[in-house]
Amino acid sequence: MALRNVPIRRKLMLVMLLTCIAVMLMMRATFFIYEYRTFREATQRELSTLGRVVAANSTAALAFENQEDASETLSALRAERHVTAAALYDRDGRLFARYPEGVADGGLPAAPGRDGYAFNGATLDGFEPVVQKDRRLGTLYLRVDAGAVMHDWIWGSLRIALAVMGAVLLIAYLISRLMERQISRPILALAETARAVTARRDYSVRAQKHGQDEVGLLTDAFNLLLVQIHAQKTALDEHAIVAITNDQGALTYVNDKFCAISGYARGELLGRDHRVVNSGTHPKEYIDGLWKTIAQGKVWHGEFCNRAKDGALYWVATTIVPFLLSDGRPFEYVAICADITGLKRAQAEILTLNRELEQRVFDRTSQLEAANRELEAFSYSVSHDLRAPLRHIDGFAQLLNTRLDGKMDDTSRRYLTTVTDSAKRLGVLIDDLLVFSRMGRTEMKRVEVDSQQLIAEVRTEFQQEIQNRRIEWSIDPIPPVLGDPAMLRQVWANLVGNALKYSRRRDVARISITHRIDPADGHVFAVQDNGAGFQMEYAGKLFGVFQRLHHANDFEGTGIGLANVRRIVERHGGRVWAEGRPDEGATFFFSLPQIPEYRLHLAAAHL
C-alpha cells in the first residue's frame, strides 16, 4: 500500500514510533561508545588489581625459588574465568611458573615485557613486577581474553537496551493512539458530514468542531462554505424551479417550487423522468435536440410547456446544465426553470390584440378604400357631367354668335365673349381639379430618380417660353432620390415654372436650385427666384387648392400647381414650405426622406 493511501491515524502512529526508535538508537549508540571506553578502563584496572594481589602472593615462592608454590598460587587464577594464561618470571627473566599447567612455551611471552597493561588485539596483556621490600624478585604475566569479556558485556548491555526500547515503544504507541483520536476523528467527522451533504443535498447540516487547531479552521471553512451554498440554494429555490436528474434522466432531486407548480408530491417525482410532466406540446425533434446538446456536455436553453398533475399547462424557461465526470461524460443534469406562464399568456394576448388591431386596420383600410372609390365615382361624374353643360354653354354661345353675326352691338358681343371665356376657364379648372384628385389616388412607384435629369428636361420644356428673356441659372449638383419619376417631374415643372412665371418682369431673372442634407428632413431642395414674391403672412395659403396670392390679371394660373406639389411631396414622405418677400422673390422648399446609399441600391434592385 502506497504511503499516501495509508490512513492518517496509521501515518501518525508510524511517525511517532519511527521517531522514538531513531531517538533511542542515537542515544544508545552514543551511550555505547562511552560505556565501551569506561569498560575497557575498568577491565584494565581490575586486571592490574588482580596482578598486584597475585604478585604479592607470589613473592615467597619466588624468593625461595619454590616452583610448586608458584604454580599453586597461579592456579588460583582458575576462579577468574577470563584469565586465559599467566606466568611468573624470575629476576633474570626466566620462566619460573606457568598457568594453566599444560600451556606451551610458545603460548607465553619468552621474556617479560615492559611493566604495565595493554590491549593487544583480542587479548589484554599485563606485566606486573613482583617486589619484596623494594627488591625486585621477578615479573608476573597475565593474559585476559578481552573478546569473551566484551561479548558478555555487549550481550548484557543489549538486553537492557531492548527492554528499554520495548517499554518506550509501548508508551509511544499508547500516546499515539490518544493523539490519533484527537487528530483523525475530527477529520473523519468532517468527511462524514460532507458525504451526508452530497448524498441528501441537505445543506442545512453543520460539521461539529472539536478544537481551534487546523482541523478546527478547516471545519469552520467547511461550515462557512455550507452556509454560503445553503444561502444561494435558498435564494435559487425562492426564484426558480430546480430539478436534478441522473445520466439516465431519472429525477434525483426536485425543489419545493417544482412540486408546487407541477402539483406532484416529491415522492411521486423522484426516480421518474421529466416525461411525468410532458404536455405533448413539443415535437420529438425539439426533445431530441435537447438531449443531443446536454449529452455532449453543453448547456441547453429553451422553453417548455409542461402539464401539471391536475392537467393544467404551464410554461417554463429552462436552462439545463450537465455536470461532467473527469472523462467528460455527464453524470447529472441540473435543470433550472423560471415560470413564464404569465408571460406566455401576455404574449398570446398581445398576439390576439395584434390580430384584432390588424383586423381593425384592415376594416379601416377597406372603409378608406370604399371612400376612395366613392371619391373616384365623384370625380368621374365631375369629369363627365360637369363638362357637358360647359360644352353646351360654349357651343350654344358660338351658335348664337354665328346666327347673330353682324346684327349684334359691341356690348352684346362682349357679353357673349365673356360667356365663352368663362366657360373655357371653368373647363381648365375642372381639368386641373381632376389631375389633382388623380394625383392622390394613382399608384406610386419607388425607383431611383435622377433629379438632375428631371430638371434638365423641365428646363427644355420651357425653352420656347423663355427664349427672349435673360435668365441666370444656378443649379447645385443633386443626388439621386427614391420616388415616382412622373410625379417628381411634375414637382420640378411646377416649381421651375412658377419661378419663371413670377420673375418674368425682371430684366434679369435669377433662379437657383439648391440641395442640402438636413438631419431631420433628409434631402432638402430649394427653388429660389427674384420675382414678385409674397407676404409671409400668406405663406400658409400657398399650397391650398385654388389658393392664389396674385390676381389672374397679373399672373395667370388656377392655383392648383402648388397644391399638387404638396400632395406629391407628402406622398413621398416629405414636406413643403416657402419663404418670400413682396417684390424681392420667393424660395420654395421641399424635402424627401434620405435613404442610406446601400438601401437605395437595394430598393432599386428590388423594383
Binding site: 369629369s383 357631367d385 363638362r387 357637358a388 353643360p389 360644352r391 357651343g395 351658335l399 373655357k424 381632376l434
Partner: protein, 157 residues
C-alpha cells in the same frame, strides 16, 4: 343623296345631340344620322326591333356612343355589339366627356375602334365631330356586307 342613314348616334343629352347635329350640318352630314336617346334604343335599332322594327335593313357604317346613358350605357352596347358576329365588324367610336383611364381601358378591352373626348370648346368640338364623320364614312373602307356602304361620289357637300 342616298336614302340610307349610315351613322348611328347614341346620346341621351338633347343639347349634345343638337350640337353634334349642328357640327355635322356644317358639312351636310346631318341627314345621314339616326339619333337614339339611350343604349336600349341603340340596341333596338341595331337589331331592328321595337320602335325600329321594319327599318331599312343593313348595319350603320359607324356607331357613335356616349358612355353614360340611361337604361343601357355605352360600354354595354359596345360589349353586345362586339360579341355579336353580325355587329362585330361595325366600327364603334366612343364620343364622350370622360377622359377617365378606367373608361379608356374598358372600352379598348371590349374592342372599341376609337375613343374621342368631346372638347369643351365648340370650335374644337365641331372639328372633332367633322373629322370623325368624314373619316369613318368617307375615307374608311367599311367591312363587306355593310348595308350602308356608299360610293364616295354620293356623299360630298
Amino acid at each position: 343623296m342616298n336614302e340610307i342613314h349610315n351613322i348611328l348616334l347614341a346620346e341621351d343629352n338633347p343639347n349634345d345631340v343638337e350640337l353634334t347635329l349642328a357640327a355635322l350640318d356644317t358639312y351636310h352630314l346631318a341627314n345621314r344620322i339616326v339619333v337614339v336617346s339611350d343604349g336600349a334604343e341603340a340596341l333596338d335599332y341595331l337589331y331592328s326591333r321595337g320602335k325600329h322594327q321594319g327599318r331599312t335593313p343593313g348595319n350603320p357604317a359607324l356607331v357613335l356612343l356616349d358612355l353614360k346613358m340611361p337604361k343601357v350605357d355605352g360600354l354595354e352596347v359596345l360589349r353586345v355589339m362586339k360579341q355579336d358576329a353580325s355587329l362585330q365588324p361595325v366600327p364603334v367610336v366612343m364620343l364622350t366627356s370622360s377622359r377617365e383611364e378606367q373608361d379608356l381601358i374598358h372600352s379598348y378591352r371590349l374592342g372599341v375602334n376609337a375613343y374621342v373626348v368631346k372638347p369643351v370648346e365648340f370650335q374644337a368640338f365641331v372639328e372633332a365631330v367633322r373629322q370623325l364623320g368624314i373619316f369613318w364614312t368617307v375615307h374608311n373602307q367599311p367591312p363587306p356586307g355593310s348595308g350602308a356602304s356608299n360610293p364616295p361620289t354620293t356623299k360630298a357637300p
